[in-house]
């Protein structure tokens, strides 16, 4: 090796190193931003958690960010199974089943219908399809408060008033615009050619949907499920208006526990209750994460 070569090699090495440093710096930046926002996002939740571990007098001291002196998980257990919500002293436990009975069918139906609508609107196009899409979409903006009374009337006529089925129906109706939107806007990015290929292969309407489109739709299915599950699980307005007595979903119970007007408040229990009520949704998020996969459409079409 000549001297000049050695020098270049050294320069190369140095350049490589500085580039590596640059790359590491980039990585650090990415993580720094993510961690920063994670902290921001968690700060209120962290405060909630601290509050749930404190005693009432300690909370009334008003030291919001102070660590609890005698941390206790008692509030969690209490709101789960003992707290009195009006005359019933079974905590939130009693309403969990209602929520599941409501949320599961409502999510399944609204997501399925939305997926089908999205499919039809992008891959089986017909005259005025975009107009129909626009009409569906615009309908999403209807204020829920205003439909309460007409909806109550309709449910009464359908003999669904006060039942969980009625509530499922309501959530399906007002979830459709969103699920349709999610799927429609995802499916437009799927190349039409593979749908054509399926048609040529003799797959009908349903088979094409089920075998070709669904397997590459996991991310958007999860977005739709997250949206619908969260919205329905946390819904209070419809839950309170269209169910009665034992049929009330968890949110109504949570609200009843937390939202007293002239009664006394126990913030530690409120916080614990909110965190417990959010667990199923959280599970959905964790589970859904697995489906945000990369490269679902790789190798499908050329061009």
């Amino acid at each position: 090796m000549t001297n000049a070569n050695v020098v270049t090699a050294n320069l190369d090495a140095r350049a490589t190193k500085s580039r590596q440093r640059q790359r590491i710096a980039n990585r650090v930046l990415v993580y720094a931003v993510l961690v920063f926002f994670a902290i921001l996002f968690l700060a209120p939740v962290y405060t909630m958690f601290l509050t749930a571990l404190k005693t009432m007098p300690e909370i009334q001291q008003g030291n919001l960010f102070a660590l609890p002196q005698n941390p206790s998980f008692q509030a969690f257990g209490h709101v789960w199974s003992e707290a009195c919500i009006s005359v019933r002293c079974t905590g939130l436990r009693g309403n969990v089943l209602n929520s599941f009975l409501m949320v599961i069918p409502a999510v399944l139906i609204s997501v399925s219908l939305g997926a089908l609508n999205g499919y039809v609107l992008t891959k089986w196009r017909f005259k005025y399809d975009n107009l129909i899409f626009g009409i569906i979409l615009f309908g999403s903006f209807i204020p829920f408060q205003i439909v309460l009374i007409p909806m109550a009337f309709t449910l009464g006529k359908l003999h669904l008033a006060g039942s969980i089925s009625g509530l499922v129906l309501v959530h399906v109706v007002y979830g459709l615009a969103f699920t349709t939107l999610f799927f429609r806007n995802y499916f437009v990015t799927v190349p039409d050619d593979i749908i054509k290929a399926a048609k040529v292969d003799g797959a009908g309407f349903w088979m094409t949907f089920y075998r070709i489109l669904l397997p590459i739709s996991w991310p958007i299915i999860m977005v739709a499920v997250i949206w619908q599950f969260t919205g329905i699980w946390n819904d209070f307005l419809f839950g309170v208006a269209f169910t009665g007595g034992e049929n009330q979903p968890l949110t109504v119970a949570l609200n009843n526990l937390v939202n007293t007007t002239t009664g006394t408040k126990a913030y530690n229990q409120d916080m614990a209750a909110a965190m417990i009520a959010a667990i199923p949704t959280l599970v959905v998020y964790v589970f859904a994460g697995k489906f945000f996969v990369r490269g679902l459409m790789a190798g499908s079409v050329k061009g």
């Binding site: 009006s86 005359v87 008033a161 006060g162 307005l237 007293t260 006394t264 126990a266």
Partner: protein, 393 residues
Amino acid sequence: EDVEVMHWWTSGGEAEAISVLKKALEGEGVGWKDAAVAGGGGAAAMTALKARVTSGNPPTAAQIGLMGLQEWAGEGLLGDLSATAEKQSWVKDLPPAVMEGAKYEGKFVGVPFNIHRANWLWSNAKIFADNGLTPPTTWDEFFAVGDKLKGKGIIPLALGGEPWQETILLEDTITAVGGSDFYRKAFLELDMGALGSEQMVKAFETLGKIRDYIDPGAPGRAWNDATSMVLTGKAAMQLMGDWAKGEIVKAKLVPGKDILCTPAPGTAGAYHFNVDYFMMFKAEGSHLDAQMKLAAAIMDPSFQETFNMVKGSIPANTAVKGDKFDVCAQQAMKDIQESVAKNALIGALQGGAAQSARIQGAVQDVVANFFSSSQSAKDAVAALVKAVADAKS
């Protein structure tokens, strides 16, 4: 047969209190289906109730305030409780204002639980003792006491800056400025002259002055957080209804001893009341029987005693003896007799004993806007007149 009951007494002592009623009914073979909806001072429950009524599926009974009861009765949805009222001789045992509220077109349509008093001043006894002060009885005294406390670094008045809490303050200053007659003219009769009068301007000015005696964290604060400021000695006083006792008891303090109860400044002798009724929807057959049993159980003196001891209010049924109650409640029972005699038992606007929700809301808007802005008292009064006129139409 079951009764389904809609109310917003869902947590803490109120929930325990309502359980007593449930047990009492079960003793009579009537099952209790609970349709409790808390939130927004009953607003959420009203929403749900309207939906249920619209869907043709009303509950047996629902909690309601005085004016609300009249509105619902006006829709022709309520049943007639006169038979039970006759049997239990409600006419004899109810204060006249409370009884009138329970009737619509001569028939009983609701049954009262309790009578709340809204014009209390709660004072931290230790602070007052330590500083050699006594709870103020007029607004001038209040401001004098307040200045002293401020000097000591104590927040004079604990306030939750929500429209309804601010409206309670206005009620207090109105009675203080013009007495119960002026209050009645303005808020019960909606006399436009009274609403736009100089006295009203004065009441607003007083209200505006109060702002100097609260802390900057007030806006949006819940009433019970304000109470706990008094309990923990951060603040000296709070103007709040008798439900504040729940928080006092919960903190293991004694109302009337650790936390003093006096009428709000300038309102001694007047009694700002509101009542919780159960209105009963039209029913038939065995359901009607159950409904009547529910009504009777509510008026039952021993239930009223138990319930109101927890709730902080006093029984609507005057047949109940007050000896088991705390001193503040005993004081209230005494004061209400007096006020009836002096024609000073007046419905609190906040709580729905004076006006329909529409007018109550309109007044609230004006108060809230005035309280949080630099609007002059005069302008606020003008706005009040306009808002009430619009809401009345």
